[in-house]
């Protein structure tokens, strides 16, 4: 793509340098003469914005590390001191914490851009995979960084995430203790998280260099998804891309500055201003906004699948949701890159974006919150007032038969005239049945709008009856279908995976693409 170098050293020194270390040539070929497609839109400016974000995080991070103290007793106070006492510490700390959010905002736009315009397809597979690696490293860095201020959310997010690793069979517990450096999140954990949080951004910087290298080998994709035919389809990087990137960056910086100066805490959780307390859990643990969709996928699995319990299942799906991006270039069977010319795929893509946002919403909700219920929660209570009781001991042949045996015995007692029979099991195979005959059979119906409310009503009624001398209350619960956040998240998670595993593979084989206009299919010069 870049072709032979056009660099011409201008004076004696640059000629001398070029013969020894052609670094000026590298810069010239990569950022000055480098040909970029002339039809790039503003979605292509996010790469430059991301490079800027990385630089900002590294610079502000190194400064924070000069004042931050990585110790459980001092970390929280040291961040407060940065905010209050260190000259301009408030600014630098805000830029770093808001910067993490801005970084993720930019990376998500950058990734959706790649998905929409098919930038992961040949010959850009390696470029895409390097991007996925950068994203994984960013997630790890942000998770580690979030634990450093040692507030309640820092501590409990770290606890929840390390517990997930403990869900792995057999080795989970040892890996967890190895990661934590102890049996709980504690000082050894904090110090290693700090060390790794300092390291990873530099690893990211290294992978970014590879990412840009791969980009400059295959050349940039463009909104049409059709390769530039000749030189007239491209313009030199400087000044065209340089200026456009700078303009976009300026706009992005305005948004950045609004957050830094006017609402630096709006993206974080207020509980992180409470120092970490290992014996008190905040009522609602949530990660930072940029990880909410994954948190939702993690919690969507509330059922066991064979030997995989719900917790492990959630962990597997959460990692799979990122892993699937790595193989995307081979899942999408369509040869057409840009969704501009794939009208059907375009619709599915837009739904996919909405699904990701909706998953984020699920991630910050209480998973058992009902979005709607079909009807009311009812319970029927039966009890007997007065009457006399007879007791009968029943022994079942085996544990497996126990339930049925006791039920038969109870039915028999009812047939003999008992109003109500209670079963009190004293061992796996023994029970005492108490039948109450005579007296008055009473009943009551309770209705509520939620299960919690219903259970509270039942408990209250039972206590009142117990106090009035009623020995036994039979309860029959009648629960309506409930559409909880978990159910919603399950549907969304299913779409997330179907999009990659079924929709993209099948669509590429079956769809009729839109027609690429002549002016794009041919080179500009050819068409003129």
């Amino acid at each position: 793509m870049s072709g032979p170098s056009t660099y011409q050293p201008k004076n004696g020194f640059t000629r001398w340098l070029d013969a020894r270390l052609p670094v000026m040539r590298l810069v010239h070929d990569s950022f000055v003469a480098y040909p970029t497609p002339r039809n790039l839109n503003y979605w292509w400016t996010f790469g430059a914005i991301l490079s800027f974000c990385l630089a900002v995080q590294i610079v502000t991070g190194i400064i924070l590390a000069m004042h931050y103290v990585g110790h459980v007793d001092l970390a929280f106070a040291s961040v407060q001191r940065i905010d209050r006492d260190v000259p301009y510490g408030w600014l630098i700390q805000n830029i770093h914490s808001v910067g993490a959010s801005m970084f993720f905002l930019a990376v998500y736009i950058h990734m959706f851009r790649g998905l929409y315009y098919g930038s992961y397809k040949a010959p850009r597979e390696i470029l895409w995979i390097l991007g996925c690696i950068i994203y994984l490293l960013m997630v790890a860095t942000a998770f580690l960084g979030y634990s450093l201020p040692w507030g309640q959310m820092s501590f409990w997010a770290a606890t929840v995430i390390t517990n997930l690793i403990g869900a792995l069979p057999v080795v989970g517990e040892s890996i967890k203790n190895w990661l934590m450096g102890g049996f709980a999140i504690d000082n050894p954990t904090l110090t290693r998280f700090f060390s790794l949080h300092y390291l990873l951004p530099f690893v990211i910087a290294g992978v970014v260099i590879l990412h840009i290298w791969a980009l400059h080998v295959s050349g940039q994709n463009n909104p049409a998804g059709v390769d530039p035919k000749d030189e007239s389809d491209t313009v030199p990087f400087t000044p065209h891309a340089t200026m456009k990137d700078l303009f976009a960056l300026t706009v992005f910086l305005i948004l950045f500055a609004i957050f830094v100066f006017y609402m630096p805490d709006s993206l974080g959780h207020p509980d992180n201003y409470i120092p970490a307390n290992p014996v008190v859990t905040p009522p609602h643990i949530v990660p930072e906004w940029y990880l909410l969709p994954f948190y939702a996928i993690l919690r969507a699995i509330d059922f066991n699948v064979g030997p995989i319990d719900s917790k492990l299942g959630g962990v597997i799906l959460m990692f799979a949701s990122i892993a699937i991006l790595f193989v995307l270039p081979w899942l999408d069977t369509s040869k057409i890159r840009s969704m501009r010319y794939r009208p059907v795929a375009r619709q599915f893509f837009l739904i996919f974006v909405a699904v990701c946002i909706a998953l984020g919403w699920c991630g910050q909700m209480n998973p058992s919150y009902s979005m709607f219920t079909a009807g009311e929660f009812r319970a029927g209570l039966h009890w007997v007032e007065g009457g006399q009781s007879i007791q009968r001991a029943v022994t079942a042949e085996s544990e497996r038969r126990a339930g049925a045996t006791f039920e038969e015995a109870a039915e028999a007692m009812k047939a003999e005239g008992a109003q109500i029979v209670m079963v009190d099991r004293s061992s796996p195979t023994d029970a005492t049945l108490t039948a109450i005959s005579g007296g008055q059979l009473r009943e009551a119906e309770l209705t509520a709008h939620s299960l919690d409310e219903l259970e509270a009503q039942i408990a209250e009624r039972k206590a009142a009856l117990g106090a009035a001398g009623v020995p036994y209350v039979e309860i029959e619960r009648n629960l309506p279908f409930e559409f909880t956040v978990t159910r919603f998240a399950q549907i969304l998670t299913a779409y997330y995976f179907l999009f990659f595993l079924v929709i993209l593979p099948l669509l590429g084989l079956r769809e009729t693409p839109g027609r690429v206009p002549e002016t794009i299919a041919k080179s500009i010069r050819g068409a003129a």
């Binding site: 929840v160 999140i185 319990d309 058992s368 259970e455």
Partner: protein, 189 residues
Amino acid sequence: MAETTADAADAPHDAHDAPSRRDFIYVAAGAVGAVGTIAAIWPLIDQMNPAADTRAMATTEIDLAALQEGQQIVATWQGKPVFVRHRTAAEIAAARRDDYAPLKDPATDASRLVQADGKPGNPAFLVLQASCTHLGCVPTFAAGDYRGWMCPCHGSHYDTSGRIRRGPAPLNLAVAPYVYLTETSIRIG
């Protein structure tokens, strides 16, 4: 092995078919190098495991005398919270009554009192790890449907034996390994 090398020495030009003495040296040197590399990397990995001082803090002693009936204390053992609950007679009875009720993670109350050395415990004192088996929050004392504990995070209800009764948690609150040192003091760990 000796035969192979002897053969190879006899036919030095037949390098493609028979492994030569040189191949053997390559493989042997490579194997020693690999073992050496692993041996050198191991300390770099193992250093992250719990250190000796962390492991030394692995037990906690608790005096039960001050703990009133109907109360609980939250102790820390290995940096993790542990519930020690002095149960009332009614709470013990409620726990026993449900021994054979339909349970998600069936266990009798007596089995949850057994000490680390296998001796039966005192039904009055329940010693549990205070970590919700869902995602590890610390459940709230004497709350929920069964007045055992309720986890505030996603609403798991535990009974007065710490057994899971309702909500997303898959398992009962784990019993902390403890033994009685005297009538009124225990050691956890």
